[in-house]
């Protein structure tokens, strides 16, 4: 752990009593390494370490009885502060059904998460959800959403793969509304943030259905590019929050910190498995200690 590494760095300090500037610099290097290994974006790491350096000086940590412990405490607090501010719950509509639009890179977990979110909202918030299948590109994508929709007992509205996803979205939302759904979750095809045509399609879908929530589904193992991917999705569709997936693995998930730090958008949910009940509200303190390692 970071604390063990720092204790190792300060191992020869028993006699000295106080940490020198070199000791603090060594500690900051360890913190930087830990965050880079955790996939936090290097620019975010740079400004984060600068913040920590100031706080360590303010706290006079060089005089602390347990400096390693004190430093880790400060780092943890700063991580939680960075990730904790921001609404975790979804925005629900004041009148008419709540519309949720799922977006993200290929393979990040959108289709699976769409079904999980429907299940969570029904069980925890007593909602009556419906799903809309707007991925007309990936082979058997609609089949996949219909299967997971059935597994969670939620209707799936689809029009096959020959229609325009924007039209399907509009039609699906209308159908679901008429059928009495009060939450409508729209699954979309995975797309690259640099694909102009597909990003244009996403913008058009958003314009057509006016969602109350646009959620970026982000794989927790994403590396340094998480920042620019998130920035491009944000510029295109101003997403409201992030769902971080595959956290049942051992990816440290630094991408979460990077995205929150750069876009200001909160992590709303974390996905912790392939089963359809594996979705939880986000806890910043748990994420902070995971990133620190």
């Amino acid at each position: 752990t970071l604390q063990e590494k720092l204790e190792g760095t300060f191992a020869g300090l028993r006699s000295k009593g106080k940490l020198t500037e070199d000791d603090i610099a060594g500690a900051l290097r360890e913190i930087r390494l830990a965050l880079l290994e955790a996939d936090v974006n290097f620019k975010v790491v740079k400004s984060f370490v600068a913040t920590v350096k100031d706080r360590l000086a303010d706290e006079k940590v060089h005089e602390a009885l347990q400096p390693a412990q004190q430093i880790v405490k400060v780092v943890n607090e700063e991580l939680v502060a960075l990730m904790g501010t921001g609404q975790s719950k979804l925005t629900f509509s004041q009148r008419g059904p709540t519309i949720v639009l799922m977006a993200g890179l290929q393979g990040s977990g959108k289709t699976t998460t769409t079904a999980k979110l429907a299940k969570l909202l029904r069980e925890q918030d007593g909602k009556t959800p419906a799903l809309v299948a707007c991925d007309v590109y990936r082979p058997a994508a609609i089949d996949q959403l219909k299967t997971v929709g059935a597994q969670v007992g939620v209707p799936v509205y689809e029009q096959g793969t020959d229609k325009d996803p924007v039209e399907i979205a509009k039609w699906g939302v209308q159908q679901a509304t008429d059928a009495g759904a009060d939450v409508i979750i729209v699954d979309t095809a995975g797309r690259l943030d640099i694909d102009e045509q597909l990003m244009g399609e996403l913008v058009a879908i958003k314009k057509a259905i006016k969602p109350h929530n646009v959620l970026l589904v982000l794989d927790s193992m994403t590396g340094q590019e998480a920042v620019s991917v998130a920035e491009r999705f944000d510029a295109a569709v101003a997403f409201d929050g992030v769902i971080l997936t595959k956290l049942d693995g051992d990816a440290r998930g630094g991408a979460a910190l990077s995205v929150k730090s750069v876009t200001g958008k909160p992590i709303k949910f974390v996905a912790l498995g392939e089963q359809l009940d594996a979705l939880e509200y986000f806890h910043p303190d748990r994420m902070a200690s995971r990133i620190l390692g």
């Binding site: 290929q106 990936r138 082979p139 340094q224 049942d248 440290r252």
Partner: protein, 278 residues
Amino acid sequence: VGAFDPEDAATWERIEEGLIAADVGVTSTVAIVERLEAEAAAGRLTTAQDLAAALRRIAAELMRTEQSDRIDITANPTVVMMVGVNGTGKTTTIGKLASRLGAHGHGVVVAAGDTFRAAAAEQLAVWAERSGAEFVRTHDGGDPGAVAWDAIEKASETGAGVVLLDTAGRLHTKTNLMAELEKVHRVLERQLPGAPHETLLSIDATTGQNGMRQAKEFAAAVDVTGIVLTKLDGTSKGGIAVAIAHELGIPIKLVGIGEGVDDLQPFDADDFLQALFP
């Protein structure tokens, strides 16, 4: 622009950051920078072009592995097993491979070894049909080992030269799922000496340092012979593949550059490194 000043600390910081930004990771970044510093100290780098060329050359040297970076399909039939973490592009890669091999006159059997995920077999069936390959599957929840077995049976029946076996995505941290993968591997070995001739691990180019964990654990479970680096058409440079080749000695064999049937290329170190260090 133009001159490279090896005495300038800011320049070295930018070089390091460039490597980190490409997901090369700290360990391989240090290895590359040490060699670069040696070349700079020897006076061999004076311009920015010298620097870029040196970076490409050093990275190429570090990425060189004992294993071939080509797929070997000389065995008859050749069995290729596709493994990797969820959503990294296994099924799509098999679809592309089936089409490419079919176009080169090989009889191909495509086997739906993912018996777990919703519509997994249906997804692969579409790809098999597109390439004209034979398709083998079982019922949902069936035994992937049985699919592997049936696929090799089908190949000997039809004289197909290549078997492409898809497997379910799985996190390397799940012991039971990794054990299942080892079991499928053993089924192949027992049924056909030498099989699987290639075990390809799909690594998403957007993956950060967890890619090292993935490669390590999958290689420990099923002797990975090569990496398919997918989604390189995105903005991620796939630097994690540099670290995997350098630190684990596993070669990149194929590169995925899109979602279409033709978007698969044999790995070309020069192209890859040119994009990484322009």
